[in-house]
């Protein structure tokens, strides 16, 4: 019997050690079913990035468990956490997703390098995803630095989906886009996530986008102490 939850967090506490007055996240219980799309909002510096880094296994909670599907992420070794992230989690950042001097194809290969699928299959899948995200296959051989911001963000989505991750973490991907591009970007993203039956964590401070998602989370409900920093 497989787990019906993509994310289960229990009795979890995280605080930055160096900086005692910064955000403390305390999550008594939080669970997300597979296939859900979650919109996480809150002001800058309120702990959204901290939550994402916890989910990606970059930061570790001082207490409690973060369970992704069947795996308790914070109990894995460094090596296994990195390997888990490579195969099961896709990530898209605000900007600077691509390595500027590599071609688009090489940027995608950076991720598919960890895939166990055959080269041919990956190539075909790249083209499918490019097509779905309305990217011309001709840009594959161009350096990432020559792409527009919108194109770069869509290539980042292609790359984050190439290994068919169960969990997709997206952090303010639209902040560099204008409003038309933003809506179509979110539509394309949700379409792909649905097609793959992946779980999506989408972080933004832009509440207008919230309507597209199945669930919403105010990050401040996790914050128990510390100042809220406006950065």
């Amino acid at each position: 019997m497989t787990n019906r939850y993509a994310i289960q967090i229990d009795d979890c506490q995280f605080r930055y050690q160096q900086n005692s007055d910064s955000v403390v996240l305390q999550i008594a219980h939080w669970e997300i079913k597979k296939g859900e799309t979650v919109f996480v909002y809150g002001p800058s510096g309120s702990g959204k990035s901290t939550l994402l880094n916890l989910l990606a296994g970059i930061l570790l909670p001082q207490r409690g468990t973060i369970k992704l599907d069947e795996v308790i992420l914070n109990q894995l070794s460094h090596r296994k956490r990195d390997a888990y992230r490579a195969r099961h989690i896709g990530m898209v950042f605000q900007r600077f997703n691509l390595i500027p001097y590599l071609t688009v194809a090489d940027n995608i290969k950076l991720a598919s390098h960890f895939s166990k699928q055959g080269k041919q299959h990956l190539q075909q899948r790249t083209l499918e995803l490019m097509n779905a995200l309305q990217l011309d296959a001709q840009i594959l051989e161009r350096p990432a630095s020559q792409l527009s911001v919108g194109q770069q963000q869509r290539v980042a989505i292609v790359r984050s989906l190439i290994n068919q991750p169960e969990l997709l973490i997206v952090d303010e991907p639209t902040s560099a886009l204008d409003s038309d591009a933003r809506d179509s970007f979110v539509d394309l993203l949700l379409e792909q996530v649905k097609a793959m039956q992946a779980t999506l964590i989408f972080v933004s401070h832009d509440r207008i986008l919230a309507q597209h998602f199945s669930r919403q989370l105010d990050i401040q409900s996790f914050v128990v102490a510390g100042e809220k920093h406006a950065v």
Partner: protein
């Protein structure tokens, strides 16, 4: 993927990388040059004389005898008599001898009285014999043969007349100006002290000193009939044996010579012991060159370290994709390795090319004979050391990248 990433990231930062490579090329070039000079100097030094089995002179230090007989440095302590020379030269085991008579100079260049056997039997380098660039060996008593450097510096041609000075100082006041010598030949460059010398016959030396006493000319006398002149003494002589097996035997006989205190040395062995005295200079050169390389390596480490700041997004992306901190360490190390390797090969090629281009000029201008043109051995000897040093210094940025990978949060 690692290699592609390292290579392309270097290309993407080509200006600062190129400057770093140039800096490394210069420093490796210096190190490689010093290494080559060390070898070449030793080689050229130890090949100043070859094919000579023994050098015989008055009893003095071994190195001293070598210095004045071969390098024409320093002052001979004593002469050896003509009879002793004749006695030893006539022994059956001796194939040939080259007498050497020192004491005069011409405008700072040593004048050596010898016989025509010198041109026939003297060997240098890899048993190379002397060749004439112009003219021929001396044949009359007042003929002279000059080394290539003397001819070049003083602008002499065959048939020019020169006046010898008594003593070896550059500004001697006692000149043998009543008996000028005529240049009959100019020797080809050898890269040895031969280039800096003037050769005349023993009879010529004897003739110009015939009426001298205590270093000055006796007034009102004329040069006697040179045909009958017999040298009274010579400074030293070199000899070659019929069979080299007899070397030690003859050396012992000479050292125990009853009629006169004599000393015989093996030129090769004495050259080596002299060289070992000079090797501290050689070590110092190597130390300086190594410090220059260290400076360049630190420059490279600094360049990589500074680049980490602008590459933090890049490192963050790699971490997000699941690349381990160890990958970042390897990436930085590989970049350092590529820079060092390209620089080492660049330095090798430029030094090799300059040696081919400059070899004639070096010999002509500085009397440095490049005995071996390939520096591949020195390069292969040095390459692993440069790479190791590069690895050690690049630990600084590589460990920094590792720690950054370990602690840095994603999505900056």
């Amino acid at each position: 993927m690692l290699f592609k990433l390292a290579w392309k990231s270097l290309l993407a930062r080509r200006v600062s990388v190129l400057l770093t490579v140039l800096m490394m090329i210069v420093s490796i070039f210096v190190l490689l040059s010093v290494e080559t000079i060390r070898y070449q100097a030793k080689d050229s030094f130890t090949k100043t004389v070859s094919g000579v089995d023994l050098i015989v002179g008055a009893r003095t230090g071994q190195v001293n005898l070598l210095l004045y007989s071969v390098f024409h440095i320093g002052v001979p302590t004593n002469n050896i008599s003509w009879q002793s020379y004749q006695d030893i030269a006539s022994r059956s085991s001796v194939a040939w001898t080259i007498p050497i008579s020192l004491g005069d100079s011409h405008r700072g260049y040593r004048v050596i009285g010898t016989s025509t056997d010198f041109f026939e039997f003297f060997r240098f380098g890899n048993k190379q014999s002397l060749e004439f660039q112009q003219g021929k060996a001396f044949d009359d008593h007042f003929d002279a043969v000059i080394g290539s450097e003397v001819a070049k510096q003083l602008g002499y041609q065959v048939d020019d007349a020169i006046v010898l000075s008594h003593g070896i100082a550059n500004t001697s006041f006692s000149k043998h100006d009543d008996n000028p010598f005529q240049i009959t030949g100019i020797l080809a460059p050898t890269g040895t002290p031969v280039d800096q010398s003037v050769y005349v016959s023993l009879q010529g030396i004897e003739a110009i000193h015939a009426n001298w006493q205590g270093g000055v000319k006796v007034p009102g006398t004329t040069t006697p009939n040179v045909e009958n002149l017999q040298p009274q003494a010579i400074t030293a002589f070199m000899l070659g044996l019929n069979s080299r097996i007899q070397t030690f035997n003859l050396q012992r006989q000479i050292n125990e010579y009853q009629q006169e205190p004599l000393q015989a040395i093996l030129p090769g062995a004495t050259l080596m012991s002299l060289w070992s005295m000079l090797s501290s200079v050689e070590q110092l050169l190597l130390l300086i060159a190594s410090l220059v390389l260290l400076g360049a390596l630190i420059g490279m480490a600094n360049m990589l370290l500074v680049s980490m700041r602008e590459r933090r997004h890049e490192l963050s992306v790699l971490r997000a994709l699941g690349y381990r901190p160890g990958f970042l360490f390897c990436l930085l190390q590989l970049e350092a390795l590529l820079i060092s390797l390209v620089a080492a090969v660049g330095a090798f090629i430029s030094l090799q090319l300059s040696m081919y281009v400059l070899k004639d000029w070096l010999l002509q201008e500085y009397g440095i004979l490049l005995t071996r043109l390939s520096i591949l051995n020195e390069f292969l000897f040095m390459l692993p050391m440069v790479m190791l040093a590069s690895f050690l210094v690049a630990l600084i940025p590589a460990v920094s990248a590792y720690r950054q990978g370990l602690h840095q949060q994603l999505n900056l």
